[in-house]
Point group: C2
Chain length 352, copies 2
């Protein structure tokens, strides 16, 4: 199917699309001093020579994910996508200086609004993620407040790297602001084991394949923290999206945690129901990279066990190397399940 034939909408919301400033100069326009001079992004210790899809470089120049027209052609029109949830990659949770981290977050938000959400968005297909720095909870709350009511920001986002599991109380000003202004919080891989964050495995992995496989483990630890700390009891309208953290670990982890709860609930008396019972009201996962066992029957078993009908939202991770095509990512799904995963769950979650 060429992009010219595929201009109609197909009932797809893509929940993980990455966009980038064309250059540091483009970001600098939104970054005040002294941060414009002082800010140096940290280099990731685990490199991947593949990075982005080779064909995602816009013909007019610039890197993948920097050209709205080309992204429309290669992703939105090609697959008939109704909404693309845009996630910049600011990678801030690794910075020691919370003022710098919050300033860079604000610059990314101003840049995203100005470059993608307010311009190039006549049809409203682009929905944005508000970056925050978790090492500055009060600053993050102010940043969330600053964007309340914007027509195209649909969630707050942060990196999975952290100095503490995300259920802990130092983060609550962020969750309070998310709840107050109606933003879910998306957590996306990034900054694990970098800068101020310890590597969340027993010591440092050796290569990217090991590092990247283990990224999902940090998501599991954060989710256990959110659940056991009672974040969803304290903030009953607060919701999270686990983006690009893997999918089929959810049911096994919940079996384990529910069993622990049975024996150890005296530690968490605020939980009046089993941890897994909070998921449907509070937690969503995005699909990419969806696991594909040799026999899809096991994937179907896990989708059923994890309540994918209510929990899972499609994502492509465009323009990254491990992009999941909406046409090929999943085995043939029952129509209703397909519609829930590709469209309805995200439509409800983001109020689209």
């Amino acid at each position: 199917m060429s992009s010219k034939q595929a201009t109609g909408k197909k009932g797809i919301i893509d929940c993980d699309v990455h966009v980038y400033p064309k250059s540091r100069e483009e970001l600098n326009k939104y970054l005040p001093q002294p941060w414009r001079d002082w800010y140096r992004p940290l280099t990731r210790a685990y490199g991947n020579i593949q990075g982005n899809r080779a064909d995602a470089k816009p013909p007019g120049g610039g890197g993948a994910g920097t050209d709205p027209d080309f992204l429309r052609e290669q992703l939105i029109d090609e697959y008939g996508i109704d909404y693309a949830i845009l996630l910049p990659r600011a990678m801030l949770n690794n910075l020691p200086n919370p003022d710098m981290a919050s300033a860079v977050a604000a610059a990314y938000n101003d840049w995203l609004a100005d470059t993608w959400l307010d311009k190039y968005n006549h049809d409203g297909v682009f929905k944005g993620s508000l970056y925050i720095a978790t090492q500055d909870p009060a600053g993050a709350a102010r940043e969330i407040e600053r964007w309340a009511g914007h027509p195209h920001f649909v969630q707050v986002m942060t990196d999975s790297g952290a100095t503490a599991p995300f259920g802990q109380r130092q983060y609550y000003p962020i969750y309070e602001a998310c709840e107050k202004y109606g933003f879910p919080l998306a957590i996306h891989p990034g900054t694990d084991g970098m800068g101020i964050n310890h590597q969340p495995t027993p010591g440092h992995p050796t290569r990217y394949i090991e590092f990247h496989t283990c990224l999902s483990l940090a998501f599991q630890a954060h989710l256990v923290s959110f659940l056991t700390e009672g974040v969803f009891v304290k903030f009953p309208k607060f919701k999270i999206a686990l983006v690009e953290g893997g999918v089929s670990w959810l049911a096994p982890l919940m079996w384990r945690l529910d069993a622990e709860y049975k024996g150890l609930r005296y530690e968490v008396p605020w939980l009046e129901k089993r941890p897994s019972e909070f998921l449907r009201d509070h937690v969503r996962m995005t699909s990419q990279p969806i696991e594909r066992p040799d026999d899809d029957k096991y994937l179907f078993a896990m989708l059923e066990a994890m309540d994918a009908e209510h929990i899972l939202m499609f994502a492509s991770d465009y323009p990254h190397w491990d992009f999941d095509s909406p046409r090929r990512a999943f085995p043939k799904l029952p129509d209703e399940l397909h519609r829930r995963i590709f469209f309805e769950n995200a439509k409800e979650f983001y109020n689209l």
Copy 2:
């Protein structure tokens, strides 16, 4: 069924039974100076008031798992167990001083041989685990050599806590010795986030329920390391047992890792087959704490997907609070699968 009625063997090998010195003095008999004076076990930051089964204290005094006669009565005879694989809890991987760690490991081994394996073992029901300290690989290799040929030591063991993932090359003297002397290596939870080991999650959990749920994540990271580093290529007869690290995460993790391998195999050219294909020849898991979803059909799907018929070995974790009874741990299994999990897999793995 009372213990008096159940003296016959039932085709059960219990792969995780904990035994302890009656007192520090009992261990000290095997611990030379200066370590006898210098060694102080570190206290775990995450306490659990339950600890051991309340009924596991021997009537004659002493703590749970310290009295061979009482352990025979409460576990071996009660359930008709053919062999019990004994795992002491020395907890050494957290100690900064490798000489101290190896000295304490040797003391535990001398104590275990003397107290359980050589005495109280007329029928050979007790099989032992040789403790080593992974921060002293050459010392660990010497300790393994010291016990080569002992009739009742069937494996080497270490704690899951570590300063580096276990696939890394600094550990290879240990694996070389294991392979040479025919010992598998068992990894058991312990020392994670203690002493010299960083906590293998994004920051420190708050409570035992969170810490304990996340113990399985360190096992996943170690397994990914063993597989991607090519340990089983370099040591083709070396095998590992993942003890008490959870079960049903295995298939989802392998789906993820195999997919990563598809895209990233240029990083690991020594792997001439998919990572998951090494499991049957090299990796076993023990069952406790086995996950029990509300609907056992999902557990059966995961047992099938993980090749439990060849990979999984029953364990009770006696005398701990979350003991899995051989009678109730699993749903009713098909006869052949039951026999593989409860007996044959361990019989083959440990050459019993």
